[in-house]
């Protein structure tokens, strides 16, 4: 079972949301095209089908900075320890780790860097 991290802590899925409250975006999706649904969503999931596919990082920034989305922004798919720091910096606050990742070791990934230029 994949591990869920929220607020830099390992958590269990607390409440089941109605599917109308969850929006799932693929890398090729345009957040602007689903802005209405995002405005009503309690959770937006962005899928990372491959380790090296970086489109979801731009989607996260657009959701946070352009569409004013304040709810849970969850990275799903190939979410690995080595991505967590950058994912968080782009606005993700929830991470569904892929199978096989050691969750406790993964938590240290948030602390890879203690400063940023941007």
């Amino acid at each position: 079972m994949a591990t869920l991290i929220k607020g830099r802590r390992i958590v269990k899925e607390s409440s089941l949301l109605h599917e109308s409250q969850v929006v799932r975006l693929e890398p090729s999706d345009d957040p602007a095209a689903v802005a209405d649904r995002i405005a009503r969503a309690a959770r937006v999931e962005v899928n990372f089908p491959k380790f090296g596919d970086g489109r979801g990082y731009s989607i996260a920034r657009l959701l946070r900075e352009r569409h004013g989305y304040r709810g849970e922004l969850r990275a799903v798919g190939q979410v690995a320890r080595d991505n967590l720091h950058f994912l968080e910096r782009c606005g993700f606050d929830a991470f569904l780790l892929r199978d096989g990742e050691d969750p406790h070791e993964a938590l240290r990934g948030f602390e890879d860097f203690s400063a940023a230029y941007q």
């Binding site: 090296g52 731009s58 080595d82 720091h85 782009c90 230029y117 941007q118």
Partner: protein, 580 residues
């Protein structure tokens, strides 16, 4: 000289720690090969033909003697006693061991060097004019703008997994010495009013900051689909530099192709969309970012500018140097360059001595060059994209002394700008991608053209060699370009002429044209000889360079001179036609 701050040091140290952990997990079998590949590449580490290769960043080509001594020590201890300066102002080690790399990076960090983003599908370290800050034709000090771009692009979380590598070059002078036309983004400074020497980063009166800006070219690049960049903006005011770059990178990150590695560079996106439509997309994205938090302020520019110290120049006359040894004069003609401060000069130390692979230096030479930099150039040097080193601030009166020492070290070959100043990739002797060797070709050409008088008579000529279509040796923009190709397991060489890396408005960047069927390696010196004969027969004066003659009369006369009657084929040797 570049000054690092605490944040720079901390990030570099943390990067070492992160990579040490990634390497350990890989060696323990906890990190998949493919993922470690993506992670090691962004730390400059390749797995090559015979060994790993580590590409160390030399930001903007700027290096202190202290750092060069550390590189000498590392190359001696962890490698085989030499390093290779590349066309991207980096230093490559060809023989490190994988498990040593974290230690090498930790050693580098003690002198604020690193290998961050020297490879991988991310924004690579930015390159610039090796005469930045000292060139008489300076518009702005490009180091300042490179520094702003470095900070913006280093560990930029949004652009860490781009479709493909991404290279940005900045040129701050009238003449383009950074080859901005063949980069993913090329920035060429433009100024609309007089400069203020107290504020070189802006180059103009700070009360009129919008007078400085950049011509923005997008979609240039070499490789298997060479293209010259399209001008997306004739004038981008400096304040908007980073938000505009962000708009470009975001459009590319979201829409660049990820289905085919050979179509993943931004140049393909520009081509597929068409420059006009691409410009509209950039402008639409930028409209949202413009004047936002990424907008530059005078304070930010001044902060970046404060990272660079200038030497304490002495006031000196401009008396000529009275030393008339012919060899010295030949050297001053080719390897000594004008300086914006009277009484000073910039000097190129040639790494293109015949018999030495272009761009290679031994550990001993590194130590000795560090000494030269300390004695003659305020302890600073630069790496050029033509794979030479520059001492940027040499007193004119010291030139004879420097020349004697450099000559004793084999670093005073007076060939800068000439045919034997060959740009070459490491080729099949080292690189896993290469189809053919490049270094022996370079050496054979250098041996053939070792008569200095003849070389000087031929005049300026860029000859570039790549061992495969990835074009690391920039063959497309050599006045003569040589490309190694594989044909049924054999090494063949295709020859192009008429390429130009750019420079002036009168001689802009252009791509070479293939002259015809490819050649065996042993034929190459003869082929170059025939091309030169044809050039000398057609030039209207000594002032007309090889590339200008090619552009004036076209490829055909050269082709005929090389192949004889093209329809009958070559006289003595079977040649294969390799489609361009």
């Amino acid at each position: 000289m570049y000054r690092y701050d605490e944040i720079d040091q901390r990030l570099v140290d943390e990067r070492v720690r992160q990579f040490r952990d990634q390497t350990r997990r890989f060696l323990d079998g906890k990190l998949a090969e493919e993922e470690f590949r993506a992670l090691r590449l962004r730390n400059g580490l390749y797995i090559q033909r015979y060994a790993p290769m580590l590409r160390i960043a030399i930001p903007y080509g700027l290096l202190t003697s202290h750092q060069l001594r550390k590189l000498a020590e590392i190359s001696r201890r962890y490698d085989r006693g030499y390093g290779h300066f590349s066309t991207r102002q980096n230093l490559q080690l060809n023989w490190p061991r994988l498990h040593d790399v974290p230690d090498i990076l930790a050693e580098l960090a003690t002198v604020q060097l690193h290998a961050i983003q020297t490879s991988g599908n991310c924004i690579r370290n930015v390159t610039t004019d090796h005469f930045a800050g000292v060139a008489p034709d300076e518009i702005v000090d490009s180091f300042v703008w490179c520094e702003l771009i470095r900070q913006w692009s280093t560990f930029n979380p949004e652009f860490s997994y781009l479709p493909r590598k991404f290279k940005i070059a900045v040129n701050g002078a009238e003449k383009d010495r950074a080859a901005v036309g063949v980069h993913d983004i090329g920035l060429h400074a433009v100024r609309r009013s007089g400069s203020d020497p107290d504020f070189p980063g802006l180059g103009s009166d700070p009360d009129l900051p919008n007078e400085v800006g950049f011509r923005v070219l997008i979609g240039g690049g070499l490789g298997r689909t060479p293209m010259i960049g399209h001008v997306m903006r004739e004038f981008l005011p400096w304040r908007h530099l980073l938000t505009y770059l962000e708009a470009i990178l975001r459009v590319y990150n979201r829409h660049g192709r990820r289905d085919n590695i050979h179509k993943a560079r931004i140049k393909i996106l520009v081509k597929e969309r068409g420059p006009e439509r691409f410009r509209e997309e950039i402008e639409a994205e930028w409209a949202e970012l413009r004047d936002g938090p990424g907008t530059l302020t005078e304070a930010k520019v001044i902060e970046a500018q404060s990272r660079f110290t200038r030497p304490a120049y002495q006031e000196m006359g401009t008396d000529p140097v009275y030393f008339s040894a012919p060899a010295f004069l030949a050297w001053t003609k080719r390897n000594v360059h004008p300086h914006k401060v009277p009484g000073y000069a910039a000097v190129t130390l040639s790494l293109k001595k015949t018999g030495v692979p272009p761009g290679d230096v031994t550990s001993e030479q590194m130590d000795a060059i560090a000494g030269l930099a300390e004695r003659y150039a305020f302890g600073e040097l630069r790496v050029t994209h033509e794979q030479n080193l520059v001492l940027a601030d040499v007193r004119a009166a010291d030139l004879p002394g420097l020349w004697r020492e450099a000559r004793a070290l084999g670093l005073a070959t007076p060939n800068i700008g000439l045919l034997t100043n060959i740009i070459s990739c490491p080729g099949g002797d080292f690189c896993a991608l290469a189809n053919a060797k490049s270094i022996p070709v370079a050496q054979a050409i250098q041996e053939r053209f070792d008569d200095l008088d003849y070389l000087h008579d031929i005049g300026e000529l860029d000859l570039n060699i790549s061992g495969c279509i990835n074009a690391c040796g920039h063959h497309h923009v050599g006045h003569i370009g040589i490309l190694g190709v594989d044909k049924n397991g054999e090494e063949w060489y295709q020859v192009e002429i008429g390429g130009n890396q750019g420079g002036t408005a009168a001689s802009p960047a252009s791509l070479g044209k293939v002259i015809g069927p490819s050649f065996a390696r042993s034929d190459i010196p003869d082929v170059i000889g025939r091309l030169i004969e044809c050039y000398l027969a057609h030039r209207d004066s000594e002032a007309e360079r090889f590339v200008e003659v090619v552009h004036r009369i076209g490829v055909e006369p050269f082709k005929e001179h090389v192949y004889g009657n093209a329809h009958q084929g070559p006289p003595h040797r079977q040649r294969e036609f390799i489609a361009a």
